[in-house]
């Protein structure tokens, strides 16, 4: 194969992009019919590179060649026309349309001015069979699971005639079993002569599926076209981060007998009356980190919001250090020492336009040192922001810059620092290390360990199973709003946990409560 | 010091502007000018909201002004009012005209009464007219107030409506619910009852409530209201709704019923030409006459301060006969007119 013209060749791509890591002089060659993995840390510049290839952004320098021809994409439509398709990390599907309708949306086959559904259905059936993408074209997308939705996305791209598929972190939303299925699909696609560019930072996956691996770090390519058979995951990790990966782990147990949070038979209903959190009972003791594993969308967000008072509990009680706080408003809970690291830091954790010191006050705007009576204590808030910036290593030139000017990791460190101040007694941490660099990740783990040792009770929610297993004293599995299993983080493997999360093998290492 | 400073500021900005676009030609603004230029008159007229083109009250004043220009060959200037402005704005508008050397100055509409009373004191050499002077009272030796007995004219068209109605039901549509329009309504109803005691006058419909003055402007509102009254079996409808009345006339005309116009003789109004044969008559309020009389008196030096009443006795109000629709009842109407002039009939104003 390598003797042929490569499917895609990027040469000296440079993209200057304010504030975040730019692409600097990146070379990348992808041969026809291979699964090529592009690895790198979050923020290393993978997404930017792919946006350039997909025509969403223009490179400042460098050239793109498709099948040996130099091209210049102004919009994704240009890229699609040249046979490039992209499957985004976040699906872009219309829930209330069928698979068929979603696939042809925007590229409808017409016959005598009307949409020719039969032809489309036939074509989709053919493609499903050819590539092993089993999806019934006539079901509504809203009834599909995550894995199926992803297949619909792939079908959508193939339907438009893509020869090169870009998959942006396709496994981030999948449980291990679904990942295996996806990889099966990728191999079939390859067998049919398609080229796959696979973006990931999960080393095992990369090693198991890729034919060639390229690594970028800090916006530049550090290794291209590595052979997965000749490289170890350790070496790959070192290439990615420039040093070895930290691992999440807890040392000796600090769990005490004091129950800080006692959730009893908590149920939260949707406006339609369907339970999204269903009869959940949970205890967190001081000095304990309780992990909650589950595929996204199984009630974690609603549970957290109910605990924070953002959403009201329909039945059940929440007891916090002896007080029944079920009907307390959010502010009273916060004042009582419940800290909150929200899962979406841009929407819930920060006011992006606000200066750092104003963001430091957020969630603590009734507490010292931020306020004195009804008045804002600017001096106090600013001094304490400086303290957090220094103690939590928030990389910023000052505390007057808006939060939007900081990188994601530094934003997250600011949030963690803020939530850790004021001696909280319970921390609800949702995805505390999502999307941040390795250094910051290790630092945040360390803060959690320290706070735990100081007697903090923590509810940890994460999509990173290693983090969950490594950082939890107790680990629950949530499925469709119910706690279905309690596993021992000391013995469980990510695969077993993944099975439990999909409800497949709840006996694997699990012990019902 | 402050005079000097201001002047220098103005000169500075002016110079900058001139420099930036000195190539532009066009009309030059005339500035300044004394207040007592006795030889040539320049008439300044400040409109009420609506301004020229309202098809009604303001247009009537404009017609007077146009006649002044033509017949007396006098230079004129007009300025419109803004909706929802306080008295202070009217004062400053009048003051602007006075300082620019306009004399005489006319304020159209009762809202100008207070402002003219105040401003006139500061410009004793300038003559002022208030059309529709409020309470028919003005102050100062250089102010004339023109007031109109709209209720008298309305009485006559009310009588005409009652006499011409076949269904025995007639209607009234007022523009905005203000006391001025109540006068029209009161006269109309009294006239109808006097001509035909058994007549049914539908409850008056007002298009809008103040401060929403759309009821004098928006024909769509008139159309709606007219439909409503037609549905209630009215076959003659009188509108006192300014521009909105165009909608009334067109709707009533399209239904082959009779409409009564207001302020000017609306039979000749281009906007209602297709249905003009359905216009029974119009209640004529000679605002144009008051404007012309005033300017003429100033130019001839016969100006007299105080108030001047325009009513049936001096034909300051009346009814139009264009189209000949009221020819057969003219005798009756003229009898009513004579009775009102002689004081035999007292027309209510509210």
């Amino acid at each position: 194969m390598p003797d042929e013209v490569p499917a895609v060749r990027l040469t000296s791509i440079t993209k200057r992009f304010p504030g975040v890591v730019a692409n600097r002089d990146i070379d990348l060659t992808i041969n026809k019919g291979e699964v090529h993995a592009l690895c790198g840390e979050n923020g290393a510049g993978k997404s930017t590179l792919m946006k350039i290839l997909y025509g969403m952004q223009k490179p400042d320098e460098g050239t793109i060649e498709i099948d040996g021809q130099e091209v210049s994409f102004k919009t994704p439509a240009d890229a699609i026309a040249r046979g490039i398709g992209m499957v985004h990390q976040h699906f872009k599907l219309a829930d209330n349309l069928t698979v068929l309708e979603n696939v042809i949306l925007g590229a409808e086959p017409k016959r005598r001015g009307r949409i020719d559904f039969d032809a489309a259905r036939e074509k989709i059936r053919e493609m499903s069979a050819a590539y092993g993408l089993r999806v019934d074209p006539d079901v509504l997308v809203e009834t599909l699971g995550v894995g199926d939705r992803q297949r619909v996305e792939i079908l959508k791209v193939l339907y438009r005639g893509a020869k090169v598929l870009i998959l942006d972190e396709p496994t981030a939303v999948l449980v291990p079993q679904e990942v295996d299925e996806l990889f099966g699909n990728l191999r079939e696609l390859k067998a049919e002569g398609l080229t796959v560019l696979f973006i990931s930072h999960k080393l095992d996956e990369v090693l198991s599926v890729a034919d060639a691996i390229s690594v970028i770090r800090r916006g530049t390519s550090v290794a291209t076209c590595l052979d997965p058979r000749e490289i170890t995951s350790r070496r790959l990790a070192e290439l990615m981060v420039g040093s070895e990966l930290p691992t999440p782990e807890l040392r000796e147990s600090t769990v005490t007998e004091d129950v800080q949070l006692d959730v009893a038979k908590l149920t939260v209903l949707t406006p339609e009356g369907r339970p999204v959190v269903d009869d959940v009972s949970l205890r967190i003791r001081r000095g304990e980190i309780v992990g909650l594993a589950g595929v996204e969308g199984n009630g974690q967000s609603e549970l957290i919001e109910a605990l924070m008072g953002i959403r009201s509990a329909d039945t059940g009680t929440i007891t916090y250090g002896g007080d029944d706080i079920t009907h307390w408003p959010t502010r009273k809970r916060r004042e009582a020492g419940i800290a909150y690291i929200p899962e979406d830091r841009h929407r819930h954790g920060l006011v992006l336009e606000g200066a750092l010191w104003e963001n430091r006050m957020l969630g603590h705007q009734t507490q010292r040192p931020n306020v004195r009576g009804p008045w804002i204590d600017r001096g106090g808030a600013r001094r304490d922001t400086t303290r957090i910036v220094q103690a939590y290593d928030v990389r910023t030139p000052g505390i007057d810059v808006p939060a939007a000017a900081l990188s994601g990791g530094n934003q997250q460190k600011l949030i963690v620092g803020r939530e850790m101040s004021g001696e909280p007694r319970l921390l609800i941490a949702a995805h505390p290390t999502r999307g941040i660099d390795v250094g910051a990740q290790a630092a945040i783990w360390e803060y959690l360990r320290q706070a735990r040792a100081a007697g903090l009770a923590v509810l940890l929610i994460s999509a990173d199973l290693e983090e969950l297993i490594g950082m939890s004293d107790t680990l629950h599995v949530i499925l469709r709003g119910r706690l279905v299993a309690r596993v021992d983080p000391g013995t469980v493997t990510p695969e077993e946990l993944g099975s439990a999360m999909t409800g497949a093998g709840s006996d694997a290492g699990a012990a019902d409560e | 010091m402050r005079r000097g400073l201001k002047i220098s500021l103005v000169t500075l900005t002016g110079a900058a502007l001139t420099l930036s676009a000195s190539a532009c030609g066009g009309k030059k603004a005339e500035t300044g000018g004394g207040g007592d230029d006795k030889k040539t008159l320049k008439v300044g007229l400040a409109f009420d909201i609506g301004g020229r083109g309202d098809q009604s009250f303001n247009d009537s004043a404009a017609a007077g002004l146009d006649r002044v220009k033509k017949d007396l060959n006098i230079q004129t200037e007009e300025i419109s009012a803004k909706p929802d402005e306080p008295d202070a704005d009217k004062e400053s508008r009048l003051r602007l005209l006075a300082t620019k050397g306009y004399n005489p100055i006319i304020g159209v509409g009762f809202a100008y009464t207070n402002s003219i009373n105040k401003v006139a004191k500061a410009f004793p050499n300038t003559k002022f007219l208030v059309v529709d002077a409020d309470q028919c009272k003005v102050e100062g030796t250089n102010v004339l107030g023109a007031c109109f007995s709209e209720e008298q004219g309305s009485f006559l068209v009310g009588a005409a409506a009652a006499l011409k109605s076949k269904t025995g039901t007639i209607g009234f549509i007022g523009g905005v619910n203000v006391p001025l329009i109540h006068k029209f309504q009161a006269g109309y109803e009294a006239g109808a009852k006097a001509a035909k005691p058994g007549i049914k006058v539908l409850p008056a419909k007002y298009l809008t409530e103040p401060p929403n003055f759309d009821g004098f402007k928006n024909p769509a509102l008139g159309t709606e209201a007219a439909k409503g009254q037609l549905d209630k079996n009215a076959d003659v409808i009188y509108h006192a709704a300014g521009g909105a009345g165009i909608g009334v006339i067109n709707t009533v005309g399209a239904a082959k019923k009779l409409a009564i116009g207001v302020d000017s003789d609306q039979y000749n109004l281009p906007a209602v030409a297709p249905v003009k044969e359905q216009i029974l008559t119009s209640m004529v309020k000679r605002v144009d006459l008051s404007v012309f009389d005033f300017v003429e008196s100033v130019s001839k030096g016969t100006f007299q301060a105080g108030t001047k009443k325009y009513d049936l006795s001096n034909d300051g109000v009346g009814y139009a006969t264009s189209g000949g629709k009221v020819d057969d009842i003219k005798a009756k109407l003229d009898q009513f007119k004579a009775d009102i002039v002689s004081g035999k009939i007292k027309v209510p104003t509210k």
């Binding site: 992006l352 400086t386 000052g398 810059v401 | 201001k6 400053s92 103040p210």
Partner: protein, 464 residues
């Protein structure tokens, strides 16, 4: 959230640890005046105004008028003494209205009902003031408090509907405007709360008695801007500016602030203040003919209270955060419902004040001639003033100037509608320019942050 940001970054002199890099004061001043500081804050509106002036002049040219002489005559007329009085009074009304709107805007609450709120408040307060005779300060206070209460209550209806029934405040306030119009029309009747003088075409509430009125402000202005009072103001103001500027630079003992730069900036600011006050504002505001609203200072107080509340109180912080990110506000413990109701009430209470200067200082009655539609002007003025108390003041003055001088345009045969077009152009240009500048500023900040971090200017490291 850009309220008086601390004076921007200056010298990057790490306090401890690293070698203290000395940056000369002049450089710090330049940086302070640099892109992230005053230049953008002042430059953006100036740029917008220049652009809109150019557009306006082109429009004037297109309509066949001479743009230079038209604008010249506007300036001539707008700077006459009697115009200045009218402009001040007009700006007072616009200002209060815009602040009322801005309070809602600050938390992304669109109170379109300011118009109905102030009219209803002014009307009922006028009826109350006309019916009672109280000794001097009590009558005025009663009327003002009543107006605030009525405005607040009327606005509260929309707030309560929003939090209990999810009714958009835009819709409910528009409808409440119509209802207010109806209520006033019903009550403004000689059988109810109003009286009609015989033969009059007007209908009005009873006149507020002499003792309940507020006299003109001219006398106070004359004494403020002359003699010893002026000297006190000049000295105190200059000293305060120097001190505040100095303190900002050394605030909280953060590294990277140069006290010398603060002093120099302060002195420059003080000099400008003294010059403008003594040489421009003072002469313009003394010996004015006509009557400046006696309640003009009330508008100033409202502006100051608004500024203090927004920037220095917990409530203001909650309000700002709710506006910038409702989701983050909720997660931080702000009760959205409570904020909506309180904000609507506050907005309505300020709306209640809009009619007070006119009512107590000029008309003494609510009649058909009472100025209406100010609530809508307020929306534009608030937009133009970027919801900032000081910006709104400038915007109100600009709009007042344009409205005041629209009459003179007719005198030179330019349709007065061109002023409406001008105002539209100004607002559009300002909004667009601000948005562009804001985006550019964020990008610039991100770049600066990256650059400063790359060159080792890192607060986190500074202490390490």
């Amino acid at each position: 959230m850009s309220e008086p940001q601390e004076t921007p970054k200056t010298a990057p002199a790490p306090a401890g640890g690293g070698s203290p890099e000395h940056v000369p004061a002049w450089q710090a001043i330049l940086r302070g005046l640099g892109p992230r500081g005053w230049a953008l804050r002042l430059g953006a509106p100036v740029l917008a105004l220049v652009i809109s002036l150019v557009i306006t002049m082109i429009l004037l040219r297109v309509t066949g008028a001479d743009p230079v002489s038209s604008i010249q005559s506007m300036i001539d007329y707008g700077t006459t003494d009697s115009s200045i009085v009218d402009i001040l009074n007009r700006a007072t009304r616009y200002y209060l209205s815009a602040v009322a709107v801005a309070i809602g805007f600050r938390m992304a609450l669109l109170n379109i009902g300011v118009d109905g709120q102030y009219r209803l408040a002014a009307f009922l307060a006028a009826a109350l003031g006309g019916a009672l005779t109280l000794p001097a300060p009590f009558g005025q206070m009663l009327v003002i408090v009543a107006a605030m209460l009525i405005g607040g209550l009327w606005a509260a209806i929309a707030g309560i509907l929003k939090v209990t029934r999810g009714v958009s405040e835009v819709l409910s306030t528009i409808m409440l405007n119509a209802i207010a119009t109806g209520v006033i029309a019903y009550l403004l009747n000689d059988k109810r709360l109003a009286e009609v003088r015989p033969g009059s075409n007007n209908v009005a509430t009873a006149q507020i008695p002499e003792s309940g009125r507020v006299g003109p402000f001219n006398g106070a202005l004359n004494s403020i801007f002359s003699g010893p009072v002026l000297w006190v103001i000049l000295v105190a103001g200059a000293a305060a500016i120097v001190y505040l500027s100095y303190r900002k630079q050394v605030a909280a003992g953060e590294p990277g602030k140069s006290p010398v730069a603060g002093l120099v900036l302060g002195v420059i600011g003080a000099a400008v203040f003294v010059a403008v006050t003594a040489l421009v504002v003072g002469p313009i505001l003394t010996d004015l003919p006509g009557e400046v609203y006696g309640l003009l200072p009330m508008a100033v107080v409202v502006g100051i209270v608004f500024w203090v509340v927004i920037n220095f109180t917990r409530f203001g912080f909650d309000l700002k955060v709710s506006g910038l990110s409702p989701t983050a506000a909720q997660a931080s413990g702000v009760s959205a419902k409570r904020m909506v109701v309180i904000t609507m009430i506050a907005s309505g209470a300020v709306a209640g004040l809009i009619g007070m200067p006119e009512l107590l200082g000029a008309s003494y009655e609510y009649s058909l001639n009472f100025p209406a539609g100010l609530g809508f002007t307020g929306i534009t003025v608030a937009l133009l003033g970027r919801n900032h108390p000081f910006g709104i003041a400038l915007a109100a003055l600009l709009f007042a100037f344009l409205d005041q001088t629209s009459d003179v345009l007719q005198e030179v045969d330019v349709p007065k509608e061109i002023v409406g077009v001008m105002q539209g152009v100004v607002v559009l240009t300002v909004v667009i320019v601000y948005e562009l500048v804001r985006r550019w500023e964020i990008r610039l900040q991100q770049r600066t942050v990256a650059a400063e971090l790359a060159t080792g200017h890192d607060l986190a490291k500074g202490a390490a």
